[in-house]
């Protein structure tokens, strides 16, 4: 049983589904019911004409579990397509975060400097606070948020990961 003791890997899965009531509950229920991890999950309609939504899931598990997750997702009746972006070659993933920092004086100036380095934009500001908007992969967002922690971080909102394969081929 070598596969069962294999180490966990992280993977990003794209799922194309019928945008019908309950479809997200089915996907989430599948993960909780079978004890799979969800590290991030995003969903939005991507094709209004055909009523299709795209769900991006970042999950982790042994290769055998990941294979199960994909097979179980494919089994859901409203699912059109399941694609393991991590397995299938190069892909781009992005996340957006809104980061609220409350500070004055040196810390306030420092937060602006850090934001500049990370190419974060100021989207709201008061005399004692900023809201930064930052886009990037999960690692970059984590690094930025960590740096903001001692500079007066008070609130974070993140979108979760959206991902797409590189190259010309659609899902």
């Amino acid at each position: 049983m070598t596969t069962q003791t294999e180490t966990e890997i992280q993977t990003t899965i794209a799922v194309l589904v019928d945008n019908e009531p309950g479809v997200l509950a089915r996907v989430i229920g599948l993960f909780s019911g079978r004890g799979y991890n969800i590290e991030s999950l995003t969903v939005a309609e991507v094709n209004t004409q055909e009523g299709l939504s795209r769900i991006t899931i970042v999950t982790s598990g042994t290769p055998m579990v990941i294979e199960q997750i994909k097979a179980q997702l494919e089994r859901l009746v409203p699912v059109h397509k399941v694609c393991d972006l991590t397995m299938d070659g190069a892909y781009v993933d992005r996340e957006l975060a809104l980061v609220k920092v409350k500070s004055t004086g040196e810390a306030r100036v420092e937060s602006l400097r850090v934001a500049e380095i990370f190419r974060a934009r100021v989207v709201d500001s008061t005399s004692e606070s900023f809201v930064f908007e930052i886009v990037g992969d999960t690692g970059k967002l984590n690094a930025f948020i960590n740096l903001m922690e001692p500079l007066g971080l008070v609130d974070v909102s993140r979108t979760g990961v959206a991902a797409i394969a590189r190259g010309s081929r659609p899902l």
């Binding site: 049983m1 309950g22 509950a25 089915r26 229920g29 294979e67 089994r75």
Partner: protein, 587 residues
């Protein structure tokens, strides 16, 4: 257009008719009154009024498993719908096609905690293959057709269609089944021919092969059983069946090793343990089969044929996984086997059969005979002997020791004649399931092999059986215990029989009479044959109360979490007494 408009209830019934539905198991209530009113006005579809909605579900399962058709249930909203949850889960676990129509409060009240409102699509999401809430009368026919398609296609399963009351009275258009195609759900039927070739190559090189076959063959239909039988005989490989697979290969064939798994035969389990090539066909490596995973058939190359990709590599990693319908795959496999003139090493195969015959010689299903008390195994052997030559005999069971003894001692040569709750192990399944089978096969002999504890769980269905004059036979192996649980308490909990003695059991003979059935009883071995004969000859429902040895245990047994070669063969076998020597040489 407006002229051919119908109300929702008429659309529903028309869709059911187009789906070939001839019977519905149901129970009325406020939310489904419009539907019942339409049922009243027609006679194409028969309605069987059950006494509890769980009974309707199991009846539909019995109907479906014995006919290969989709079983249909109709219940009201709220409590009617929640009462189906056990049956839905049962059907999901055992891959039984059922469409369950549930009433719902009017759409404008949904979410308001209305009277008898339950979020049944929410509740049943994890225990159905799929479910629908119909909010638009014009989508109703399409959804019903889709529900039947989903229930029966691929790996079959239960589908719920939730029907708000206002949708059932609204006027709308009917969509015929010919205009409905499913957008996404298109299960793969043909297997990948290259993988089939690889599988044949591996099998052709096998020295100690085994075919481990399961319920998927029954799901596929009688043709798949035919093909399996052909394939087994073509290869000369030994074949074992799961509880769900019984009947997929004739039990009377010398190539059959009996059932495998926790209460399977010695020869089947040791052959699984020691084989060098295992071919799993429509079986799902359930834990009752594998025992301790780390020691499951450690030295074999494994091939798996299954229509559900998620069954492959779920519990046990395999070398070749073929996704497809067993019928289609076996057909191709036979062709490839013949075309390649595959010829396994006959000397090795003969050696393998020699080992198997030695294991067989242990006669693992034997039990201590008695002239004083009725041994449950004896009662079942007699039941088998006295019914095996009859034309059409269908067996259902409840859950417990009697179920396993039935699986061991009643021998099936045909598919679809054995209905049991395998995956969920639902006590109370057997009586309503027998009722459903009898509705589908009015002339057949239908016997529920029951435990006294289980049968009480849905005993109310005796009333349904009386109403429709269904000649169902209930053959109770009455040990006055929840025997299966008591057995575990004996073997694993020092004989502390906590809450497993059945106090204050009803007098089953009087109970039968109270339900207008015939009650019979046997208390001594000498009475068994007479009771069975009388039961068979009675053209009404019968409850036969067979008072069996209270302390008998079901062997062989692989204790949970043990390996196949750590089987307990009978009384006196301690957990550590391995059967191993013979088995071990193969490991």
């Amino acid at each position: 257009m407006a002229d051919d408009q119908m109300n929702g209830s008429q659309i529903l019934l028309k869709a059911l008719e187009e789906q070939g539905v001839d019977v519905i198991f149901g129970y009325p209530g406020g939310a489904v009154l419009p539907i019942y009113d339409e049922i009243f006005k027609q006679d194409a579809i028969r309605h069987i009024l059950v006494r509890h909605e769980q009974g309707a579900m199991h009846a539909a399962e019995g109907y479906a498993r014995s006919t290969g058709k989709v079983g249909v249930v109709l219940v009201t909203s709220g409590p009617g719908a929640t009462n189906t949850v056990t049956g839905l889960t049962d059907a999901l676990m055992d891959s039984i096609p059922v469409v369950c129509l549930t009433g719902q409060v009017p759409t404008h009240l949904i979410g308001n905690d209305a009277f008898q409102e339950a979020d049944i699509t929410g509740i049943t999401r994890p225990c159905t293959k799929h479910n629908y809430l119909v909010k638009d009368v014009n989508a109703l026919a399409r959804m019903v057709h889709e529900a039947f398609y989903v229930a029966r296609s691929g790996r079959p399963g239960p589908v719920v269609v939730d029907l708000p009351k206002d949708v059932m009275t609204a006027m709308g258009d009917y969509t015929p089944v010919s205009r409905v195609t499913h957008r996404t759900y298109k299960p793969r039927m043909k297997g990948d021919i290259n993988l089939i070739r690889r599988a044949v190559d591996i099998m052709a090189a096998a020295k100690r092969p085994i075919l481990y076959c399961g319920g998927g063959i029954i799901n596929s239909g009688p043709a798949a059983s035919q093909l399996l039988t052909e394939f087994v005989r073509l290869t000369g490989f030994p074949c074992t069946l799961t509880v769900m697979g019984l009947g997929a290969f004739p039990a009377s064939d010398p190539l059959y090793l009996g059932m495998l798994g926790m209460h399977g035969t010695y020869e089947a389990n040791l052959a699984m343990h020691g084989c060098d090539v295992m071919v799993a066909i429509g079986a799902r490596f359930d834990d009752r089969i594998t025992g301790r995973l780390a020691d499951f058939s450690p030295n074999s190359r494994k091939i798996h044929i299954d229509i559900d990709p998620s069954s492959i590599n779920k519990n046990v990693p395999v070398e070749v996984g073929i996704v497809g319908d067993v019928g289609h795959v076996l057909e191709d496999m036979i062709k490839v086997w013949k075309a390649e003139q595959a010829s396994p090493d006959q000397k090795a195969l003969a050696e393998w059969w020699k080992s198997i015959d030695q294991w067989r010689a242990r006669d693992c299903l034997r039990y201590e005979k008695s002239t004083k008390v009725i041994k449950p195994q004896y009662a079942l052997q007699r039941l088998y002997e006295l019914t095996k030559d009859l034309d059409d005999v269908y067996i259902t069971t409840e859950v417990g020791q009697h179920q396993m003894w039935a699986a061991q001692h009643y021998r099936f040569d045909k598919p679809n004649h054995w209905m049991t709750s395998g995956g969920l192990g639902t006590m109370g399944y057997g009586l309503p399931a027998a009722m459903g089978v009898q509705v589908a096969h009015p002339k057949a002999l239908v016997i529920d092999i029951a435990g006294e504890a289980s049968v009480i769980m849905n005993i109310q269905e005796m009333s349904t059986i009386a109403q429709y004059r269904l000649p169902v036979k209930v053959f109770i192996l009455n040990n006055e215990y929840m025997g299966m649980v008591r057995q575990w308490q004996e073997l694993l909990y020092g004989g502390r029989y906590a809450e497993t003695y059945m106090h204050c059991l009803p007098d089953f003979v009087k109970l039968a009479e109270a339900f207008q059935a015939v009650g019979l009883r046997a208390t001594k071995p000498g009475e068994v044959d007479d009771v069975i004969r009388e039961m068979i000859e009675t053209d009404r429902a019968v409850i036969a109360d067979i008072r069996v040895d209270q302390m008998e245990n079901c062997f062989p047994m692989i204790p949970s979490g043990a390996a196949h070669n750590e089987m307990l063969l009978g009384p006196g076998d301690e957990a550590e007494t391995p059967v191993a020597e013979e088995g071990m040489v193969l490991v």
